[in-house]
Symmetry: C3
Subunit: 349 residues, 3 copies
C-alpha cells in the first residue's frame, strides 16, 4: 500500500556513474543508468529477448547492452540494435520518468503521463554553498509506514538512542501536530536542557560551548509520498531558541527519503544538512558517521516490530498523542492511494 | 499438535538474570524476565502501544520497559506507566503462568485458570546435595514427537552414538514397554556386557574399574507433555544390576525436557543428574561435555527425518516393538489433546 | 516439466566410492551407493522404518545400513535384516534403474520397466586412450531448459565470456539449426579469425602457434533429455577448418549433462573431452580450471534470468534465429513429455 504516482528517491548519482544499477522500487524491478549525455535513465530490468536482467549488462556509449546476448537497449525502452538481428518488431519495455536533482536520482514508478518534475520535493539546502550534506542508505525489512511513524515520533530517541541524542526531557515535553493539506508537522520545544552527546559534538563543531543549558527543538515535516525532513537544533539557552541568531546555535535538517521496495521492505536514504561550518569536510564526515551509528540502532526494532505485526495481524495499535504525526501521515497516504485507484478505475472505465 | 494446558520448560534461570528473553513456546511468542522480587514473569512479547517486541527492552526495578517508546509493563500484562500518557485504558497483554523450580523456569502456554504448580514434574535430584546436575539446550527443527521417539527407543545408540554409548548388545536385548495412566516406561537390561566409552568414564569417575563386564540398564520414563527421564547405569556384573549397592555401580538419570517451539521445531533441554561424586565439578563438566557431543549427533538425523516426513506426508511408518515407547507416548498425547479440545469446545459451547 | 523416462547423469563414480550419496533427480530423492560387487545402486532415500534418509547411513559389505536404527536395506529396495526384527513384511522402497558408464553414474527416474541401458548416450571419447576428459559439477537454481538454451546459443560467449572464449565474430556469423528426429544441431563456422585466449592456450597445448588466424567452429548437438555436446575447435586458417588434419588444429568436445533436480534447479555436469595430447595431465588440469572459471560466469545470469521469468510469468520471450537450437530442443522435450503422459494415462486406463 503506497502511492505509485509519486517521485521517490531511487539512488544517489554515484550509484549509477560506473555501471547499471538494478533496484526494485514500489515492486517495480528497475535498471538505472546514464545515457550518452550523462542523464539518468530508468527502465524495466528485463531484456525483451530472453528475460535476462539488463542490470547485469554494461553501458556502452550511453546504450545499455544486455550482458547475455548483446541486445542494445535505448533510453525509451525500445531496442536499438542486436548483432545479426532486425529489432524493429521487438517489444518495448517500460521506461520510467526519472530526474536527477538535489543530489538524488528520483523515479516515478506510476503512470508516466502524470509525472511532473516540478513536483519533486524542494530541497533548499541542496546545491547551496551555505549548506553541507552527508548521508547514507539502509535496506530495512519493514513497511515504509513504520519508518514514517518512527520519524514523526521522536520520543523513541530516549530509549533507542539513549547514548547519543536521547534525553529524558524529550518524553516530558508534549508535541503539537498540525496537518495542512498533504503536509503534516509535529513540533517539540525543550527549553533549558543539557545537550546530549550528539549535540555537544555539533556545538563544538560550531565553536560553541558544549557544557551549558540549551533550548532544543525538533520539527518533523512529513510530505507525501514518504519524505520526512526534521528541523533539529540547539541554541544557547534564552537566546531565542529556534529563532536565535546563527552565532549562538547549531541547527540542521535531518533528511529522510523512504522508498518502498516491496510492501514490507524499504530503501532508506538518510542524511543531515547543516548550515554551519559547511566547508568543514571532517565535520561532515564525523556527523555522518555518528548519524549512521544512531540510525542503525532503529533497524532491529523496526524489523522485529514488522514481524510482530505480521504475526498478530488483527491486533489494533494504540494511537496516542505522540503518534499523531504518523497517524495523520497515514491518513494522507490512504487518501492519495484511494484517489489513485479511483483515477485508474475511471481511466479503465 | 501438542497439549497447551501443560507445564513446559521455558528456559534456565540464568537466561533471564540479566535481560529479558524472547522465546516462542507452543507457538506463543513470550517474553520472560524477573520482577522486583526476582520472580520469573512471562508475558506476550508484544507492546500494546505499537507492537514492538518487549524482549528488546530492559528491566528497570522489576518493570519491563519497552525499548521503543518507554512503555512500562507490569507483571500482570497491564501497562503501569508511559511518559506523558494516561495508561489506564491501554489494552492488557496476556500473562502466562510461570514458576521457577528444580533449576528451570516452567511456563504454562494454555488456559491460565487450569495451571496448578503442584503438577510440575517432580525432580527428586534437584536441590538435593547427594546429586549433581549438568545440562544444555539445543534448538532443533523437528516435531517434538520425533525427539520423544528418539529417546524412548535407545536402539539408535548403536548407530548414531557408536563411539560413546552405543554397543551391539543394545540391539540384541529386547525391551519391555508398559503404560500406566499417562506414564509410559520402556526398559532394557543387558547383563554381562563390556561398558562402552562413556560408561568407562563414569565408572572411573566413581572409582570403579572400567575394564570388566557390567550389567547395564536403560529405563525410559515418558510423562506428558514431553518429559523423558531415563534411568541409566552400569554395575559390576553379577552384583544385582539395577539393584546393586551404590559402591559397585555408576548410575544416573538422563533428563530430557522437550519444549515445542512450533509444530516443527523444539527447544531441547538435555542434561544428566548423577548421585555419585556429586561435588566433583570437573566430573560434572566432563560428563556434560561428553553428553553434549553425543546428543548433537542426533540433530542432523532428526532434522533430515523431519524433512523426509514432510516430503512424503502420506507414507505410514512402521511401529515395531522397539518403537512401542514412542507409539504409546503418542497415544497419550492424542488423548490429552482431544480432551483439551473437548474442554475448550464445552467452554465455548 | 521434464521427461522422467530417460537416463540422466546422477553423479560421478567417485562420489559414491566411500559413502552413500543423497541427491534429488527430477524431484525424486534418491540415495546412491555401491553394492558388494561395486555396482551402483539407486533407491528412494527413505528408510521404511521411520523415514530417516538412508543417505545418512553407511554401506557395510554392500548393504546400506540405516544410520538411525540399523535397518539393512537390499539393492532391490527390500529390507534384508534389522536387529531383533522379522523384516519380511516391511514395505519395499523404490529402486531406480542405474548404470555406471562412460565415467558417470546414470539413473532412470521414471518407469523402471522402460529403462534400456542401450539408450544411454554414446560417448565415444570415454574409455578411449586417444582422448582425455576433465570436468566438474555445478548446482544452479534455474530451469534446466534455460541451460539448454544457453548452450545451444553460443552468441552469449561474446558477452558473458568476453575475456576467454568470446569474440566479436561469433555474433557476426550466422548459425544453421537442423532437427533430425529428437536430435537438434546448431552450427557456426568462423573462418580466418584470431583465436581468443582459451583457444590460444589449447593451440599451445597442441604445439601450434597461437598468434595466427584460425578457422573456428562450434557445432552444438542436443539430444534428449538434456544432453548438449558441442564440437569446438580451431585450425590454422585455410587448412580445411573442421576437416583439417589433426596436426594443424586443436579441437575438443564440450560435454554438458544437465540433470534437473527440481523444476527450477539443476545439477550441471560440465567437462571437456579432447583428442590431442591426451596423456598431458597438466594440460587436462589447466583446461579444466579454465573451463570451470568460464562456466561459472553463467551461473548468476541463469539464476537471475530464472528469477525474472518467475516475476513476469506472462511475458513471451523472443525466438530469434540464434535461439533456434533451444526452441527446437524445447519442441522435442514437449513432445516427449506429452508422449510420456499419454503412455501413463493409457496404462491407467
Amino acid at each position: 500500500m503506497f502511492p505509485k504516482n509519486a517521485w521517490y528517491v531511487a539512488c544517489t548519482p554515484a550509484e549509477i556513474d560506473d555501471k547499471p544499477l538494478g533496484r526494485k522500487v514500489c515492486n517495480e524491478a528497475i535498471v538505472f543508468y546514464r545515457d550518452a549525455d550523462g542523464a539518468a535513465v530508468a527502465l524495466e530490468d528485463f531484456c525483451p529477448h530472453r528475460g535476462a536482467p539488463l542490470s547485469l549488462g554494461r553501458v556502452i556509449e550511453g546504450k545499455l547492452v544486455c550482458g547475455y546476448h548483446g541486445l542494445e537497449m535505448g533510453c525509451d525502452g525500445r531496442t536499438v540494435a542486436m548483432p545479426g538481428q532486425r529489432v524493429r518488431g521487438f517489444p518495448a519495455i517500460r521506461a520510467y520518468p526519472v530526474v536527477e536533482r538535489h543530489g538524488f536520482v528520483w523515479v516515478w514508478p506510476g503512470e508516466a503521463a502524470l509525472a511532473d518534475p516540478a513536483t519533486i520535493h524542494a530541497c533548499d539546502w541542496a546545491d547551496n554553498p551555505d549548506w553541507a550534506y552527508g548521508g547514507g542508505l539502509f535496506h530495512i525489512h519493514c513497511d515504509y509506514r513504520l519508518m514514517i511513524d518512527n520519524l514523526m515520533d521522536l520520543s523513541h530517541e530516549t530509549y533507542v538512542h539513549a547514548t547519543s541524542i536521547g534525553q529524558k526531557e524529550i518524553d516530558e515535553t508534549p508535541t503539537t501536530t498540525r496537518t495542512d493539506g498533504d503536509a503534516v508537522t509535529t513540533s517539540r520545544f525543550m527549553d533549558g536542557v543539557m545537550p546530549p552527546p550528539f549535540w555537544r559534538l555539533a556545538l563544538r563543531g560550531n565553536h560553541l560551548p558544549d557544557d551549558q543549558p540549551v533550548d532544543r527543538w525538533q520539527i518533523c515535516h512529513f510530505s507525501p509520498p514518504s519524505h520526512v525532513l526534521i528541523e533539529v537544533g540547539v541554541a544557547l539557552a534564552g537566546q531565542g531558541g529556534y529563532h536565535a541568531a546563527p552565532e549562538v546555535k547549531a541547527s540542521s535538517i535531518v533528511v529522510d527519503f523512504i522508498t518502498p521496495e516491496t510492501e514490507t521492505s524499504i530503501w532508506y536514504f538518510w542524511g543531515m544538512a547543516r548550515n554551519f561550518n559547511p566547508r568543514d569536510k571532517a565535520l561532515t564526515a564525523s556527523i555522518r558517521e555518528g548519524q549512521g551509528r544512531i540510525f542503525s540502532e532503529d533497524l532491529e526494532m523496526l524489523e522485529r516490530q514488522q514481524r510482530n505485526l505480521r504475526a498478530w495481524p488483527d491486533r489494533t495499535l494504540l494511537k496516542l498523542n505522540i503518534d499523531a504525526g504518523g497517524v495523520q501521515a497515514r491518513k494522507v497516504l490512504d487518501r492519495l492511494v484511494a484517489q489513485e485507484r479511483a483515477g485508474a478505475a475511471a481511466l479503465q472505465g
